[in-house]
């Protein structure tokens, strides 16, 4: 009996090695483009490229521009979606379900399908070359997803907590701020990560609305290199590392939240 067990565990180990070999090859295939990026960025000047790119005032400016777009979007999305989620989950409203599903119909709206009209609107509002031209539509596009995630989470919090606080004289807004928001932290963090990623990597809205070079977010960096410098590919890819690096650092530390945040809408 004992012998049999040893045999089977050895068998498992051997097949595990086979699996490891396959998985290492697969992992490599998923890492090649990142490895390529690093190796191209080091071409020519080596680490000097990094110093050259990241001490360039223009490029630092692009990083700041990306942050200027990301932070307000994040604040708007979190506040507006959690407030609405609270009402849909815990308060009485006529036509609640119909309105909820109407809002969710924006869940999968492709930016490209409304970009023409957004452009006409932004031109009329004289917001071309204004960060709001990116922030406001971006917020609107992320909101339905954020609403879905936070509402699902709030639905799992017992109604008794809300009712008890209301009887104790707490105003609904107080319940939202002091009770629901702290309890929803996991959903809030999922939405935070999703929104951060979506705003940081955003390309189309910036391409259309931010036409002045000094307003570019970091994703439009290649355009700067294509026009301003001679096309130095090592410098372009060093810039790319600048887009990807902050995200990867966050990913390493907050992996669980990244994976949850990005798949949350699909799993429930």
């Amino acid at each position: 009996m004992a012998k049999l067990r040893i045999d089977s565990s050895r068998l498992r180990n051997r097949s595990n090695i086979k699996f490891h070999i396959i998985l290492i090859i697969v992992s490599f295939l998923f890492l090649i483009p990142l490895i390529t990026m690093v190796s191209i960025s080091l071409g020519g000047g080596g680490f000097a490229n990094y110093i050259k790119v990241f001490s360039d005032a223009r490029i630092i400016r692009y990083f700041i521009n990306s942050i200027i777009i990301t932070i307000p979007t994040l604040i708007l999305v979190l506040f507006i979606s959690s407030l609405a989620a609270f009402a849909f989950s815990k308060l009485k409203m006529p036509g609640k379900n119909i309105i909820f599903y109407l809002f969710l119909s924006g869940l999968m709206l492709p930016i490209a399908s409304i970009i023409v009209q957004l452009f006409l609107m932004i031109v009329r509002l004289k917001l071309v070359n204004n960060y709001l031209a990116v922030i406001l539509p971006l917020t609107a596009l992320i909101l339905p997803f954020a609403l879905l995630i936070i509402r699902n989470y709030m639905d799992d919090i017992p109604n008794d907590i809300v009712e008890a606080s209301l009887i104790d004289g707490c105003k609904p807004f107080g319940v939202y701020r002091r009770i629901m928001l702290p309890l929803c932290l996991p959903a809030i963090s999922a939405v935070t990560i999703f929104t951060f990623l979506f705003s940081w990597n955003e390309f189309l809205l910036a391409l259309v609305f931010l036409r002045k070079r000094e307003l570019y977010p970091i994703t439009l960096l290649p355009r700067y290199f294509l026009t301003e410098h001679q096309f130095d590919i090592a410098l372009v890819f060093t810039g790319f590392l600048g887009i990807v690096f902050p995200v990867i650092i966050l990913y390493i530390f907050l992996q669980k939240y990244f994976i949850e945040g990005l798949t949350a809408g699909a799993i429930k």
């Binding site: 998923f30 409304i114 990597n201």
Partner: protein, 293 residues
């Protein structure tokens, strides 16, 4: 009076008001305006607008570039749904065993999703360059130069190259979803299968695969919408070329409006894209409802 309002809950609309404003101004209004604009011949800025009824739609269905675009989106959809699902499923089976470092493997496979599509587009554009790209260099070095083809410049190949890149980027998503689904399959089912003498292949096809129906369904919907939406990678890698061969709806709209000023026409294409996206979203909403009840 106050009592009446709060009893019916009308006062509570204040909580969804900011949402409703964003939703109406930036999503609903553009959608309605899209439909309206699509009936005009208009360049987007001159005061003159010509009502031409359905002419833009007729032009559209006669336009070979539009046909190519929608065909490419469709090929994109079919190949992405199939291969991303299949590869994701197989990798999830691999990672569902208790092996050392499996969360590291999972993280690496998921990694491309967090990288900006713009960066992915340029990086693959470099790797797949016909003359100096590392991929072709590799094929030439191992004496398989016939595989060193023009991945991006060949009009028959470019869209498939882009589809491959998109699958590469999003496979981790399928893996994570399938892994979550696999956790929900009761162990007893596998034990029963083992007792019945079912082999690995049989267990996978007769138990694992059918038990993941809701995961398959979610992935089909999400990958479909992803295939309709695609813009960044195509724009960065080929701008829809060569000779419009890799054009998709999003790049077609972009080019027609922002380069050619055919605002009326591009609105009509936008309407088509919206209708497709909304149909897929309806399926998705039904899914949420079913799961919730």
């Amino acid at each position: 009076m106050k009592n009446f309002f709060s009893k019916s809950g009308i006062n509570n609309y204040i909580y969804i008001l900011p949402f409703a404003l964003f939703f109406t101004i930036f999503l609903v209004y553009p959608i309605i305006n899209n439909v309206y604009t699509s009936f005009f011949e208009w360049d987007g800025f001159s005061p003159e607008k010509n009502w031409i009824g359905l002419a833009n739609y007729i032009t559209m269905f006669k336009n070979s570039i539009f046909i190519t675009s929608i065909k490419n989106n469709f090929i994109f959809l079919v190949l992405t749904v199939f291969f991303q699902g299949l590869i994701g499923f197989v990798l999830a089976l691999f990672l569902n065993r208790k092996i050392f470092g499996r969360s590291v493997y999972r993280s690496i496979i998921f990694l491309p999703i967090i990288v900006a599509p713009v960066v992915i587009g340029y990086t693959f554009g470099n790797m797949l360059n016909f003359t100096y790209g590392t991929v072709n260099e590799f094929f030439r070095n191992i004496g398989m130069g016939f595989l060193a083809v023009d991945w991006i410049g060949n009009p028959r190949l470019s869209i498939f190259t882009i589809i491959f890149i998109n699958i590469w980027e999003w496979t981790g998503f399928s893996v994570v979803l399938y892994l979550a689904g696999l956790q929900n399959i009761p162990k007893e089912l596998y034990d029963a299968a083992k007792i019945d003498g079912a082999g690995f292949f049989h267990t996978v096809t007769k138990i694992t695969f059918p038990m993941l129906t809701s995961t398959h369904f979610s992935l089909i919907i999400l990958n479909s919408i992803g295939a309709i939406k695609i813009f960044d990678i195509v724009y960065v890698m080929t701008k829809g070329g060569p000779a419009h061969s890799s054009e998709v709806l999003a790049t077609h709209i972009f080019l027609e409006n922002f380069t050619l000023n055919h605002t009326g026409y591009s609105s009509a294409v936008s309407v088509v894209m919206l209708v497709i996206a909304l149909i897929i979203t309806l399926f998705q909403l039904r899914l949420y409802r079913r799961v919730k009840i």
